[in-house]
């Protein structure tokens, strides 16, 4: 039997405890990651929602950005939701001056693409690859980004299925990286986290 993996949650700022709870409920160990030492002890990393400009700034200030890039380059699986998607994107549209990311996902992502908080919304979406894929997932979108374009090695796993933004890409994955515009950690539905755990176990 495989040992139970330990998945870290980047704890600079944002929805950290919701991801810790969802990971524990998905059958893995979880731990907050604020330092290089803590990063070196995890088998995978979740980057939560929050403000991407804040996370980037503090990751660089506390010399965490390069270790994050090295971990990603060496194959550490990572899953980002909302701001976490921006942190994993190769290209950011609407970034603040000088904003950087960990990079790794060959996507262009647009910050706050749906508009201000009054435009934040919930909608049922289909997510490819999760358990019971025909059952819609509760997509919670909060000042969310969307994906403008994806590279060849990146799979689209979710799109908005109705309304004015129908067809917009809101979920992607590559071999070791996954990202969603929405917040599965704000729901009781564990299927997206379980999909990431499966990626971690197979890596």
């Amino acid at each position: 039997m495989q040992p139970v993996p330990t998945i870290g949650v980047l704890a600079i700022q944002g929805g950290v405890r919701e991801h810790l709870r969802a990971l524990e409920a998905s059958g893995v160990n979880s731990t907050a990651v604020k330092t290089r030492e803590q990063l070196s002890r995890v088998d995978a990393l979740v980057i939560p929602g929050g403000e991407s400009s804040t996370m980037d700034k503090l990751a660089r200030t506390f010399e965490l950005m390069e270790p994050l890039r090295e971990a990603r380059a060496s194959g550490l699986p990572m899953f980002g939701s909302c701001a976490g998607m921006i942190m994993l994107a190769d290209r950011i549209v609407g970034a603040i001056e000088g904003q950087e990311s960990i990079r790794g996902l060959d996507i262009s992502v647009e910050r706050n693409a749906f508009g201000s908080q009054s435009e934040s919304f919930e909608t049922g979406i289909v997510v490819r690859g999760i358990r019971e894929p025909d059952r819609q997932f509760e997509g919670v979108f909060i000042r969310a980004p969307w994906v403008l374009e994806v590279g060849e090695a990146t799979d689209v796993i979710a799109r908005i299925s109705s309304g004015p933004h129908e067809g917009r890409i809101v979920g992607v994955r590559s071999e070791t990286l996954m990202a969603t515009s929405f917040h599965p950690e704000l729901t009781a539905d564990l299927r997206v986290h379980e999909l990431f755990v499966e990626m971690v176990r197979n890596s």
Binding site: Q13, G49, T54, Q117, E122, T123, G124
Partner: protein, 297 residues
Amino acid sequence: MSSEISTGTSRVKRGMAEMLKGGVIMDVVNVDQAKIAEDAGAVAVMALERVPADIRAEGGVSRMSDPDMIDAIKAAVSIPVMAKVRIGHFAEAQVLESLGVDYIDESEVLSPADYANHIDKWKFTVPFVCGATNLGEALRRLTEGAAMIRSKGEAGTGDVSNAVTHMRKIRSEVLRLSSMAPDELFVAAKELQAPYDLVVEVARTGSLPTVLFTAGGIATPADAALMMQLGADGVFVGSGIFKSGNPAERANAVVQATMHYDNPDVVAKVSRGLGEAMVGINVADIPVHHRLEDRGW
């Protein structure tokens, strides 16, 4: 779940506040300050005409900000923009919603418009944050539809003591509820002057159903670290940044201390070389009828 698009749900309102956790929200009065805040890593800015220290010094009726000023700040930064309305002034809130602000603070820092009623916040798509000095007040605000709670420390003083009192009070009242027998919760609800169902929810979960930030009197990185260690989910800083000698450095320092609130080495390091903190006023020196924490009911 259907593919319908639903806006303004409790989950997107409260979830927005969850995403601000561990962060610092800064009062700003113009575009330059907003950019300094964003560059420092603030998770949001609060756009207002005068910071609380100036409201306190200048007196008079203080109101919602000029829409042009809010628009200019919204255009200048990509982080969320919040703005304040007077307690009970639902028409000011309608204006801010129309401007597309990301969060409304129904705030005791402005002059109250209604001495009996707060705004019915369920009617709005935009979420609200409200101040509270104790658990009963927090639960009454949640009943009216607030999606985020903050302490009501004495704004514009640089004196953190009231924020400490509120945070300790709310936390201890939550703990007390969670240790009570079910048949004691009826009286607890009566004493807290809060709805029974919410009291039961707090007792069962051992926490507020929304995030709890701290606000009022935070002026230094150590103040932020103190409030985070006392259980705040995040920090509002008003006059503390832009009434100090070196706003950009202080903004950076407060943001960094909030992330590493439990690491004194970091708090010590970022506390160096910040220059003058804002000039303080002891809350005890303020006449009782000029204190802000008693506004709101």
